[in-house]
Each structure stands twice: as C-alpha cells, then as structure tokens.
Amino acid sequence: MHHYFLDKYAALNSIIHHLDPRLKIIVFISYVFFVILTPPTEFIKFFLYFLLLFSVIGLSKLPLKFILKRSAVVIPFVLFVALFIPFLKEGEIAGSYSYGNLNFAVTYPGLLILFNVLVKSWLSVISMLTLTSTTKFADLLKAFEYLKFPKVMLLVISFMYRYIFVIVDEAMRLKTAGDARNFGNLKLKHRIEIFGNIIAVLFIRSYERAERVYAAMLSRGFDGNFRTIKEFKFSNIDLVFGAIMGLILMNIFVI
C-alpha cells in the first residue's frame, strides 16, 4: 500500500494547503455546524453553502473526482432513511402506489426529511474531506494538540497512522494467501473459523511488532513525546481567509 493512502493530496501546492492547520480545523468544523443547524426548508442557503465549499475546493486544486468519489460513503445511510419514508404517515401525500393489499404513500414531510439528511450529510462529508485532503496528517495532529486534545489519544492516533500501512499490507498478504487457497468457496462454518484464524494471526503479529517497536523506541530515548521541527505561524493570509469564511457563513446563516 502506498503511504499516501490517508492524506493523498495533502502535499499539493495551493493557497488552502498553506493556511494554518489550526485555522482550517476551526473553519471546516464550523462549516459543518452551520450546515447542520440550518432548517431543512431553506433550499437557497444550502445552495450557497454548496457554492462556498466548492469555490474553496476550486482554490485548493483538489481533483473533483476524488472528492465526489469519497463522499459517496453517505449513500448507504441515506438509502436506509429512504426505506422508512413510506412509514411516515402524517402530512400531505406527494405520491402513492399500492402493491397487493399494501398501500405505500410518500408524504412531503417524509421527502423533506430525506432531503435534510442527504444534503447535510453530503456537505459535511465534503467539508471534512477538504480539511484532511489539504492538511498533512502530522500537521493536523499537531494542530489538535494546540487545540487541547488529550495527549494519549493523539499519541495513539499518531502510532496508528505510522503502522496502518504496515498492518494493512500484512492483512492483504493474509487475504491473498486465503484467496489463493479457495477461501471464498468453503462452507460458511469453515470460512468463519479460518477468517477468525487469519485475524488471530494478524493480531499476534501486530502485538509482536508493537513490542519490537516499543523496545526500539525506548532504546532511542522515547519519553512519551513527539517533537516536530515545524512551528505554526498565523499569517495575514490566514486572518483574511478566516474573516472571509466567517463572514460568508454568518451571512448565509442569518439571511
């Protein structure tokens, strides 16, 4: 697996990439809150939020195809909501059909709920993707440290980031070995047992690796802190970007 699997486009060169990570975290998370707190009937506001976010993406030179593809993860949940729309009985009926004795009716409030979750979850997902695709993982963690995130968790996450690639590679090798031995065609009982064994082997290998990593780090003087050379600087561009984003979001929200 390539090491840029997590923050693939974080090394691009654009104005958004060079902003202070602390500011970016605050701006993109506030964006999510503004979107979530907007009432679902305000269609124009959602359109404006959409325009704002996509102009930022335009500035950041991120490939649109990548953003759209990653944002498709919200689809299963939205479909699950769509499944329940016929059960919401109250309200004016937008359309109905019957199947045998069963009558299904789709009401306007039901459709509004669907629109609500679809647009809000989609915009939020894209906002977070833009944040993490324009910021390097190490910078993001450092920024979270400035924002008073618990240190144990940041340490766990940074170790996780360093070893995800190694362990996913290990997992994929095990999977290939299983597939090469016709794993998919076994009976379910055997398949579950073998799958369990695969995970157990992965667990033991990960644990033993962790022990070696710990010993290696200890012998190099690890004292529970990560140190980075880079210092964050809050520049005038950051100030301008933060002010513009804040003003636009506020304006969209209150109009």
Binding site: F77, S121, V152
Partner: protein, 217 residues
C-alpha cells in the same frame, strides 16, 4: 453503523458528545495513571490492527459482506478503558479521513461502539466468564471463548439499538420500525462477529495464551 452528519438533531448530538467526552476523559485519566509509555505504542499498533480488520470483509451470503467491529476483542486483551481509547481513535481517523461517520455525530458513534460496544461488552464478557467458572468450578478455556462470543454479539446488538434510538429521537426514523429493522439485521451480523471473536480468542489461547493475561486498564 457509523452515523453521518445531519442525522442527529442538535440536542441529541450535543448530549452524546458530552457523554462521550466524559467517558473518554475518564478512560484517558485511568490510562495515564498506569504505565503510559509501554501501553501507548501497543495501543497505537492495535488501533491500526482494528482498522485493518475492519477492512477485511468476509463474504457472508448472496453478495453482502460483514466486517468486524472488534471492540470486545480489543477489550479482552487490553482492558475496557484502554480499548475504548483505541476504538475512539479508530473512529476519529475514520471520520476525518474516510468520511465514515460524521463530526457532529462522532460523540454518538464513540458512545455506541466505544462505550456500549467496548466497555459494556467487556463487563458482559467478564460476568459470563465468572458465571461459567462458578458453575464448572474451574478456569476453563471454553468458558473464556463462549463468554467472548456472547459478549461480542451483545455489543453489536446494543450498539445498533442505541444507533437507531438516537436517530429516531432526532425525528428521522419512526422508532419501532427502525428499531426492529436495525436490531434484527444486527442480530445476524452480531452472530458472525461473535463466531469470529470466538475463533480469534481460541486461536490466541492455543498459540500465545500469555496475551490474555496482560495488565488490563
């Protein structure tokens, strides 16, 4: 089961965030007290392990596939609080980088799968294990394996029930229908989780039984 943004109303997600922060805060405090440096690399590598297992899908039936949640599994080896930190870290990375679960709903996701699915799951495991040991009057490997399986099943079902209650309380789903749908689907998914957890635990008991006796946090 990772709830995206927009599915929970403000009072619900704020409430869940507060609960999640309290729990994680307690877990962080507990972990900090014990040997911090030894556990941190272990927890980090195990978080990567949980992440990798969630990527390994096993085909279940006719096109659908399931993956592990792994909360109870992590708790059996690390103890409930260290495991809840590991799980929370996994959810944070998934929410930030894979858009798997939202930011506003992260508190709810940590509560559902990190607290109900890990801490409560662990105490169910411990309770069943003790009960079996009391009945058979000896410490048996079978008891550990069975307890792990049942606890994993309970964890998945509890987490799915909590997930559907939270979304219904936000007015997105009707409560009864969604609860029935979510819980019945996850009762089956939980069965697979339970069986896989049992297979993992029995394999580890055969190969490295010492790993089950690590210091638990």
């Amino acid at each position: 089961m990772h709830i995206p943004d927009g599915f929970l109303s403000p009072p619900i997600f704020i409430g869940m965030w507060i609960i999640a922060i309290l729990i994680i805060g307690y877990a962080v405090k507990k972990t900090n007290k014990k040997v911090l440096d030894k556990h941190v690399p272990l927890m980090g590598v195990l978080a990567a392990f949980i992440f990798a297992t969630q990527m390994l899908n096993t085909p279940v039936a006719s096109g659908t596939s399931g993956h592990m949640l792994g909360g109870v599994l992590a708790a059996i080896f690390l103890g409930p609080f260290a495991a809840s930190i590991v799980m929370a870290s996994v959810f944070i990375v998934q929410a930030l980088f894979f858009a798997d679960g939202g930011i506003t709903s992260l508190g709810a996701n940590i509560f559902n799968m990190g607290l109900l699915g890990t801490i409560v799951g662990y105490f169910i495991y411990k309770g069943i294990r003790k009960a079996i040991e009391r009945v058979t009057r000896k410490e048996s490997k079978k008891g550990i394996i069975i307890a792990a399986g049942i606890a994993s099943w309970c964890a998945v079902v509890l987490a799915s029930a909590a997930c559907s209650i939270e979304i219904s309380a936000s007015g997105i789903f009707p409560l009864t229908e969604s609860l029935i749908a979510m819980v019945s689907v996850h009762a089956v998914i939980g069965l697979i989780e339970g069986l896989i957890t049992m297979a993992v635990v029995s394999f580890v008991l055969k190969v490295r039984p010492d790993l089950l006796n690590l210091e638990k946090i």
